[in-house]
């Protein structure tokens, strides 16, 4: 199970990094999402992998799983979700303003540069 989880984290983060290095906004956002999945899995594993054990005190339980990484992952998921929603909006706004989904939003930026703004 450890090997499977490690492979999954590695695969997700390598795909995420590859997509993040693309020049269009949509793949970049997908890459960020994949990377955050990888990170969430990694955080989950930081409390060690325990099977069939409850995270909170119970009378029947013989052993427990660490509840803190679960709380951390929950926080990270919520934050990541909000961030993704915002960056999608920002990308859409850039698309509607420049008519291009390149990450540099280049179509009109060339004109801006002529006016003296360093790019």
């Amino acid at each position: 199970m450890e090997a499977m989880l490690a492979i999954a984290i590695g695969l997700l983060s390598s795909c995420g990094v590859y997509l993040m290095l693309r020049a269009r906004t949509f793949p970049v956002i997908l890459g960020l999402t994949l990377l955050s999945y990888a990170v969430n899995l990694f955080l989950f594993a930081s409390g060690r992998l325990t099977i069939n054990a409850p995270p909170i005190i119970s009378a029947e339980a013989s052993h427990y799983t660490d509840p803190i990484p679960q709380a951390l992952v929950l926080t990270a998921i919520v934050i990541g979700f909000g961030m993704t929603a915002y960056i999608v909006t920002l990308a859409l706004r850039g698309l509607s303003e420049s008519g291009d989904d390149h990450v540099d939003m280049t179509v009109e930026s060339a004109e801006n540069d002529k006016e003296g703004e360093p790019s």
Partner: protein, 520 residues
């Protein structure tokens, strides 16, 4: 028996803006005057709470505030020491000036400006006050999320473009941050900073390399926020694109990264044998390279606001010398420099907004303009330029002097002196050039001047904007007049920071009493 305000002092700077941001969200879109009133009231309360905290921490040991009485290391803990109080006070001053400036009309460009502004303060104050690294992550995210929205406030392609890069970079940074936290929790079993310091003392040889990796990743994220050279290319674009009051508040954000880094290094990582040599000469070189590149950036900037952004980067480079040197005298001088550079940086952003407004269409571009700039703005620019360049007798000079004499004992003193002094010279030249372009040069073609003057309405500058800009200039002059008491305080702050046992004892009085379960 401690009084209510002493007991709850550490959480007030987080709670006040948080409550007012919720109230402001409910009042969104209605009664702009009421929104401004609530925001102003909240910021005044924040100023009072910060001043109170500053006074408390000056004569008390670090105050640990366990939320919900969950004893550390298990619960969430806020710790108010002198460093945190200094950061919170500085934030409150900048926030008051930025808010005053924004309430002249900038806040009307979007519905939620005031609510997001208060959330930004929650994030910054929380990052200064928090006592565990996971909440540091959470407060960083609150701060960044609010800053993304404030950066885009007002609209325009320039803001979307620099905003997208800024958000992407910081999201990637957050991923690295979380991996570091996972590694720390996986090896040390705790995320409380004081507890990390205790656990690091007895880390096994097998786990030492993992802890070092975690520390390196953590410092990488802090360096991204603090904008050290290879990770700094986002800063000039983002800060130059933001609206003037937003950029003024952003002047504190690189400082948050530096303070977080300093705290983690001095309290947890430096005293432990396994992680002692994580920050070293390489960071000094990187910081000096940041200063050098920023000086070139100041020289080549084509707009006053991007010039100010490069100045922020330059001061961030100077402050990045503090964590690797980790020495009480250097930290004391560096904290004075931090305070004065944040105030001066913010004031230049506000003043560049004012100058842009008074020059009509030419804006803050460093070109000749048909409309003349009012004399008061010229005087303000002169004072700020002299402070930023570190010319005597202004507070920038005192800050640099103290820092240079403090580093003279360290092995790389000659290199540090050369780079800082040369960058001061280049900054002086650049600011003199910018000032003469902005104020004295007139356009070659007099016909266009007449045409522009005929068509353009006389620009109006609101009294509030002038007050905000000159208020910050006054604070910068006060830092000069009261240089002695302020530098005494930063000296006491540094002395407290460099005795981490006080911090640890305040959070966890008796480490042996904590019951721990050994993990597989």
């Amino acid at each position: 028996m401690m009084s209510f305000f002493t007991l709850h002092g550490p959480i007030l700077p987080v709670l006040i803006p948080f409550v007012s941001s919720i109230v402001l969200l409910l009042a969104a879109g209605r009664h702009p005057a009421m929104q401004r009133g609530i925001a102003a009231f909240s910021t005044l309360l924040l100023l009072a709470a910060s001043a109170h905290l500053l006074r408390l921490t000056d004569y008390l040991p670090p105050l640990a505030y366990a939320l919900g009485e969950w004893a550390p290391p298990f619960g969430i803990v806020l710790v108010a020491d002198r460093l945190a109080a200094l950061g919170v006070m500085l934030t409150a001053i900048l926030a008051a000036a930025a808010l005053l400036y924004a309430s002249a009309g900038f806040d009307r460009k979007g519905r939620h400006f005031h609510a997001i502004f208060q959330l930004q303060l929650v994030g910054i104050n929380g990052a200064f006050l928090t006592g565990d690294v996971f909440n540091l992550f959470v407060f960083f995210e609150v701060m960044l999320l609010a800053s993304y929205i404030l950066l885009a406030h007002g609209g325009g392609l320039d803001k979307s473009r620099s905003g997208f890069a800024y958000v992407t970079l910081n999201l990637a940074g957050s991923a690295v941050f979380l991996i570091a936290l996972g590694l720390i929790y996986g090896t040390l079993g705790t995320l409380n900073l004081a507890d990390i310091a205790i656990q690091l003392q007895s880390v096994s040889a097998g786990e030492a390399s993992l802890v070092r990796l975690a520390g390196a990743l953590l410092f990488t994220v802090f360096l991204l926020k603090a904008a050290v050279l290879p990770l700094s290319f986002w800063l000039p674009h983002a800060y130059a694109a933001a609206g003037a009051p937003v950029a003024a508040l952003f002047a504190i954000m690189t400082k948050v990264g530096i303070v977080a880094m300093l705290r983690v290094e001095v309290i947890a990582f430096d005293p432990a044998a396994a992680t002692q040599d994580l920050l070293g000469g390489w960071l000094i070189i990187a910081a000096l390279a940041t200063i050098a590149v920023a000086a070139l950036g100041v020289l080549t900037a084509k707009k006053l606001q991007s010039l100010a952004a490069w100045l922020v980067l330059s001061s961030a480079g100077v402050l990045l010398l503090l964590p690797p040197l980790a020495n009480s005298a250097v930290t004391a001088a560096g904290l004075y420099y931090l305070v004065q550079s944040a105030i001066t940086g913010a004031a230049i952003f506000l003043l560049s907004g004012l100058i842009a407004q008074s020059r009509g269409q030419t804006g803050d571009k460093l070109l000749a303009s048909a409309t003349a700039v009012p004399v008061k703005l010229k005087i303000g620019f002169l004072l700020l330029a002299a402070t930023a360049a570190g010319l005597p007798p202004f507070s920038g000079f005192i800050g640099k002097l103290m820092l240079l004499s403090a580093v003279s004992e360290t092995p790389m003193a000659a290199l540090i002196w050369t780079v800082i002094l040369l960058s001061g010279l280049l900054t002086t030249i650049a600011l003199a050039k910018a000032g003469s372009r902005l104020f004295w040069e007139s356009p070659a073609d007099m016909k266009t001047v007449a045409a522009t003057l005929a068509t353009e309405a006389t620009p109006r500058i609101c009294l509030r904007q002038t007050l905000a800009g000159f208020g910050l200039i006054a604070v910068s002059l006060l830092l000069l007049i009261f240089a002695r008491p302020v530098s005494d305080f930063t000296g006491r702050t540094a002395a407290q920071l460099h005795q981490p046992e006080h911090y640890i004892k305040a959070v966890i009085p008796d480490p042996d009493a904590t019951h721990r379960v050994t993990r597989p």
